[in-house]
């Protein structure tokens, strides 16, 4: 089963300039990455732990990962691929390129599929999102720089 395209639409004030929209998109992407590397999902909750098999795997060891630091980073490519997909007056679309390997990996984490057809909420690590409070902080920050 192909991975679902993973993206979010973010509503922003229509009064913002193109430059400001891009700045906000950049800060949203960086915030998502920052929070994910800190081990927290889009609601600020800690991610479910890694499986025993994964912790014992050669890749886990070779990537220098720690069992106690669940940060969705192996090679680093998935989080590097998170980007602004589209921007219009009042809306930003942030996510992964549809059909890419990184979208598939993100989909595995977000829905908890990890190669299976069905998702598993208990294993899901949904990092793709920004809270209203985070968004307000970011928009206020960009507007304050006018």
């Amino acid at each position: 089963m192909p991975a679902k395209h993973q993206y979010i639409d973010v509503k922003i004030p229509k009064s913002l300039s193109k430059k400001e929209r891009r700045e906000i998109a950049d800060l949203i992407v960086e915030r998502i990455v920052d929070r994910t590397l800190d081990g927290k999902d889009k609601r600020g909750k800690g991610f479910p732990g890694y499986s025993k098999e994964y912790i014992k795997s050669l890749d886990f060891n070779n990537a220098g990962k720690s069992a106690s630091d669940v940060n969705l980073q192996l090679s680093g490519d998935m989080l590097a691929a998170l980007t602004l997909l589209n921007e219009t007056d009042g809306k930003l679309t942030i996510g992964f390129e549809d059909g890419s390997d990184e979208n598939a990996r993100a989909d595995g984490n977000i829905r908890g599929t990890y190669g299976q057809e069905r998702g598993n909420r208990k294993k899901a690590r949904d990092f793709l999102g920004v809270s209203p409070k985070e968004l307000k902080t970011i928009i206020d920050m960009v507007i304050s720089e006018r």
């Binding site: 960086e30 920052d34 600020g44 990184e102």
Partner: protein, 173 residues
């Protein structure tokens, strides 16, 4: 056999902030981070044939891209480095090649990273890397997503992004 990243080449193409990255203060940490990314990706079993292209699984010259039977026998006998397994294709047997990859030069807007030194058996690590490259196992390049990782590293370490993310984090936990 080494990777040469001409930082200046990308100043106009990517972002203005990379202009600052050519300074001596910032270029060394960038070069070290890039070395870590290349070594880690190779240990995970991927190479990059073209700079700023996509990473690809490393393949050996045996049947189906696996090891030749005679070489597999040797790997099964071992002893292998702890960063590999008999059937794992990640340019590792003793581990000396990837451990030798380091920053050769990081100044004047250029970063050169490559294998260095000789091995226990007297062979040159650079020659081993060249042999692998001749066989299509090219690992000393930088993929597009790895370059994005480096840009992020630079921005987080040396630009105003660090302060902004700190502020967002303090207000949102």
């Amino acid at each position: 056999m080494s990777v040469k990243v001409d930082v200046k080449r990308f100043t106009d193409k990517i972002e203005k902030f990379l202009k600052e990255a050519v300074s001596t203060r910032t270029i060394k940490p960038i070069a070290e981070e890039l070395t870590n990314i290349i070594v880690k990706r190779t240990r995970l079993g991927y190479g990059v044939k073209n700079n700023f292209g996509k990473r690809e699984k490393l393949r050996a010259s045996g049947p189906g891209g696996g090891f030749k039977p005679s070489y597999l026998k040797k790997r099964l006998r071992g002893p292998l480095d702890s960063t590999t397994a008999p059937r794992k294709l990640n340019l590792t047997f003793t581990g000396q090649l990837l451990r030798s990859v380091s920053v050769i030069k990081a100044q004047d807007g250029k970063i050169i990273i490559g294998p260095t030194g000789t091995r226990n058996d007297g062979k040159d690590n650079q020659k081993i890397a060249q042999y692998n490259a001749d066989q299509g196992r090219i690992f000393l390049n930088v993929s597009e997503l790895e370059f994005k990782q480096i840009l992020r590293f630079y921005r987080r370490e040396f630009t105003d992004l660090r302060r902004k993310l700190g502020l967002i984090s303090r207000r949102n936990g």
